[in-house]
């Protein structure tokens, strides 16, 4: 497996000529990567807009948002969000963000663009399958967006879609008819596309590496994508039957998940014998690895970007960080029950899940410490990509600490389904992973477009986002301690009324941080057309993508087939001529790989 495959100079597929082949149904992994990133940005904007509506409602439940009354006269009569519509907004916010932003952008977006280049290949192993993966994902997003325009609106069951609520059909509430069906189809599309994409990533990394690119010389971003793809293959394969059984319960009258004796909307449901817990087990068997599918590419991207800006290799080299990622991936498959501590399971089962949940913090902490301690003695270059990488470290530690609390069944009995959990996962996914995506954007924008993004605007974006996001999600931990239940649309109970000022504070900060993202959008679009032209290697980095033009030519290397001589982190090496040695430089340096 460690033998590099010899790449002959033959186009993997012919260069495109028509407009449709070049920009729409493209086989080129770079175009597909950009399409995924574009989809991720649009989905992020939609998801953010949903969160703004939720935040306004939480702070000021009687506030009128006129746009919403146009979108749904049932859900927001006069622009005032009903409790059910709040749940719809919350469901689609979670679904769109978790799948179409956080899973699509760092993995399918950057991974598709850069994995083939970083291993020295001309394209992914299966370009046509790659193209269909994107368009199936796109279809999934259209189906999710379609839930907003159907009369009954989006489903209200959360991104977790627990039965019986999600399984009984329209009797359960608005959006539970065609809304939930479209949601299920959307998830099915995303899952199939992800499975096909994972096959592509794994086959390309294993079989399409260029001469000299042994596994020990792979950039850490490639390791991140590779491990994520392997985990995704196993996790998404379980989501598909889980969702299938749910759709059968909804449409075919089966009772996999629906128990007997349920009376909803004064109607006795014609089902019997099913187990809602069965759904929870199947869903979370996928759902927990899913959150690691979100964070592992981020680990890879940070492990790739940080050495460039600290001008030294990471402590432990590629081995320790990769071992941490592998261990995290493996352990993530055995901890799913920690989402179900209050579902009535035996305390012994709870312990069986709690112990590996605690264990999984160990490789995560080792990874954090590697990054933090590598900063010691480093010549840190504070450009926007490195700021976002450093911000990632802070955010992941802060959010991860919340995980220690939630891993204990005794504490989780209190904190489950409170804002503590919301704060925890937004820190780790909504902030850390997003910061890694931003780090990737600012780092790779010069390579993808040939221009640099504006540094000043980047720093404004960073500081507003970093401080603002702490302001949004840190107070949520305290709301959780105070017992504030999640998914409530308004604070009407006695014990919640004192928390209203905190919710309002969070809402105001959220809207400011939302506006700060517009700085990023503006910077992105302006720099695309008017940004300062970038050299081929503006960050003085070592990996293969920096050894080709910006943007790379059709076959990535302009007819050259590269030979790799070194690992990806040869910065400040003893005895080397400059302060970095590119992977493709034949300059010999004393190294142990």
């Amino acid at each position: 497996m460690d033998q590099a495959s010899t790449q002959k100079v033959v186009p993997h597929h012919e260069p495109p000529h028509s407009f449709i082949r070049k920009y729409i149904f493209s086989l080129d992994h770079k175009v597909i990567g950009k399409q995924y990133l574009g989809l991720g940005l649009v989905a992020a904007f939609v998801g953010m807009a949903l969160s703004w509506a939720m935040r306004i409602h939480l702070g000021w439940p009687d506030a009128s948002i006129p746009l919403l009354s146009k979108l749904s006269s049932n859900g927001a009569p006069g622009g005032v969000i009903t409790p059910e519509y709040y749940l719809s907004l919350m469901t689609m916010h979670g679904t769109i963000m978790a799948f179409f932003v956080l899973t699509a952008a760092p993995l399918s977006g950057f991974g598709n663009y850069f994995l083939p280049i970083q291993v020295g290949a001309e394209d992914m192993a299966f370009p046509r399958m790659n193209m269909s993966s994107f368009w199936i994902t796109f279809l999934g997003f259209i189906l999710a967006a379609a839930t907003f325009v159907i009369p009954d609106g989006p489903p209200i069951s959360g991104w977790t879609a627990y039965p019986p609520l999600s399984a009984v059909g329209p009797d359960a509430g608005p959006g539970q008819g065609w809304g939930q069906n479209l949601w299920g189809l959307s998830i099915a599309c995303f899952t199939i596309a992800s499975l096909l994409g994972a096959l592509n990533f794994l086959a390309t990394t294993l079989d399409m590496r260029t001469k000299g690119m042994t596994l020990s010389r792979l950039p850490l971003s490639v390791w991140g994508w590779f491990i994520t793809a392997a985990l995704g293959l196993l996790a998404f394969a379980v989501l598909l039957p889980c969702a299938l059984l749910l759709m059968l319960d909804r449409l075919a009258g089966t009772s996999f998940y629906i128990p007997g004796g349920l009376v909803l909307s004064d109607k006795l449901q014609p089902h019997t014998g099913g187990s809602p817990l069965l759904f929870q087990h199947l869903f979370w068997f996928f759902g927990h690895p899913e959150v690691y599918l979100i964070i592992l590419p981020a680990f890879g991207i940070i492990g790739h970007v940080l050495p460039t800006f600290i001008r030294k290799p990471l402590i432990g080299g590629w081995r320790v960080l990769t071992a941490c990622m592998v261990l995290i991936a493996f352990l993530s498959l055995v901890v799913w029950g920690h989402h179900m501590f209050v579902s009535g399971m035996s305390p012994y089962s709870a312990m069986l899940f709690s112990v590996p949940t605690m264990f999984i913090t160990i490789p995560s902490i080792i990874a954090m410490l590697i990054w933090i301690f590598s900063l010691y003695g480093a010549d840190i270059r504070f450009s926007t990509p490195s700021l976002f990488s450093l911000g990632f470290l802070s955010l992941f530690v802060s959010g991860g600490i919340g995980g220690f609390f939630l891993a204990q069944p005794s504490i989780d009995s209190y904190l489950h389904a409170t804002y503590f959990v919301v704060g925890h996962f937004h820190f780790t996914m909504g902030m850390s992973a997003v910061f890694a995506i931003f780090a990737g954007f600012y780092y790779w924008f010069p390579k993808m477009t040939g221009r640099l993004m504006n540094e000043t605007l980047g720093k404004v974006h960073f500081w507003f986002s970093f401080i603002g996001m702490y302001g949004i999600f840190m107070p949520m931990h305290f709301l959780g301690f105070a017992g504030h239940v999640r998914r409530y649309s308004a604070l009407v109970d006695d014990y919640l009324i004192p928390l209203i000022p905190t919710q309002r504070f969070i809402s105001i900060v959220a809207l400011i941080v939302g506006a700060a993202q517009l700085v990023f959008f503006f910077n992105f679009i302006w720099s695309y057309y008017k940004g300062k032209k970038a050299a081929d290697n503006p960050w003085e980095a070592t990996t293969l993508e920096w050894d080709t033009a910006s943007p790379p030519p059709f076959d990535n290397f302009g007819g050259r087939h590269l030979t790799v001589y070194h690992g990806p982190m040869e910065y400040n090496v003893e005895g080397s001529k400059g302060d970095y040695v590119m992977q493709t430089s034949p300059e010999p340096i004393g190294e142990k790989t």
């Binding site: 002959k8 033959v10 299966f126 096959l199 293959l233 379980v238 039957p241 059968l248 009772s255």
Partner: protein
């Protein structure tokens, strides 16, 4: 069997065909990797369904077993035979290649054994739908009882994957005409991995259903 060869007249054409062959060799190697990974993913899906069956049977208390339609035994035989015929097809191709003069041998199709495989596969799917008719005649439909539900889900999903495998065999057959270097393997061997897995998977599903009834 007719065969087509690249023009041998110029050295450049030779060089091109060698490079094309090398590129195809790489894709073939990647296809081998990918098909094994796909087998893992499909196995994982059916593992999830198996655990769903076990849990549902255990917690529901409404599981009514039924007699599996006897035609399933015939279908099993048909599917396993199709694996044998596929291996015969592969042997035939390897034999023809060993006898060929040029390094890259092009064949027009996989031969009669491949068509036998496809025929047996379609008979299998037909047999599965007959099993469904048998159950329907007894009043056992998808939602009648969880035992029937799982029967229909297992057989339908497996049958769909078999049909996908039929398409894969047809695709591999077409690629045979483009030529492949025998140093690695043929497109048919990639398809064979999937096909044999379909046979093994069916035996497993049949056993699970049998035991659980």
């Amino acid at each position: 069997m007719s065969s087509v060869t690249y023009p041998q007249s110029t050295a450049r054409a030779d060089a091109v065909s060698a490079r094309v062959a090398a590129s195809r060799s790489l894709t073939l190697k990647a296809s081998h990797t990918a098909i094994w990974l796909a087998v893992c993913a499909i196995a994982m899906s059916f593992a999830a369904l198996t655990s769903a069956l076990i849990v549902r049977q255990g917690t529901g208390m409404d599981w009514k077993p039924f007699v599996l339609p006897p035609i399933l035994y015939l279908n099993t035989f048909l599917l396993l035979t199709s694996s044998a015929t596929l291996e015969l097809a592969r042997k035939q191709i390897a034999g023809a290649a060993a006898n060929s003069q040029s390094e890259t041998r092009l064949l027009s199709h996989g031969g009669k054994w491949l068509y036998a495989t496809l025929g047996l596969a379609l008979l299998f799917v037909l047999g599965q739908t007959l099993a469904w008719h048998n159950l329907a005649a007894q009043g056992l439909f998808l939602a009648t009882n969880p035992s029937c539900s799982f029967f229909y889900v297992f057989t339908a999903l497996h049958g769909l994957h078999v049909l996908g495998g039929v398409l894969g065999l047809l695709y591999a057959n077409r690629r045979l005409t483009l030529g492949f270097p025998f140093a690695t393997a043929s497109p048919l061997s990639v398809a064979a991995v999937y096909w044999h897995f379909m046979g093994i998977l069916w035996v497993y599903l049949f056993l699970i259903l049998r035991i659980r009834m």
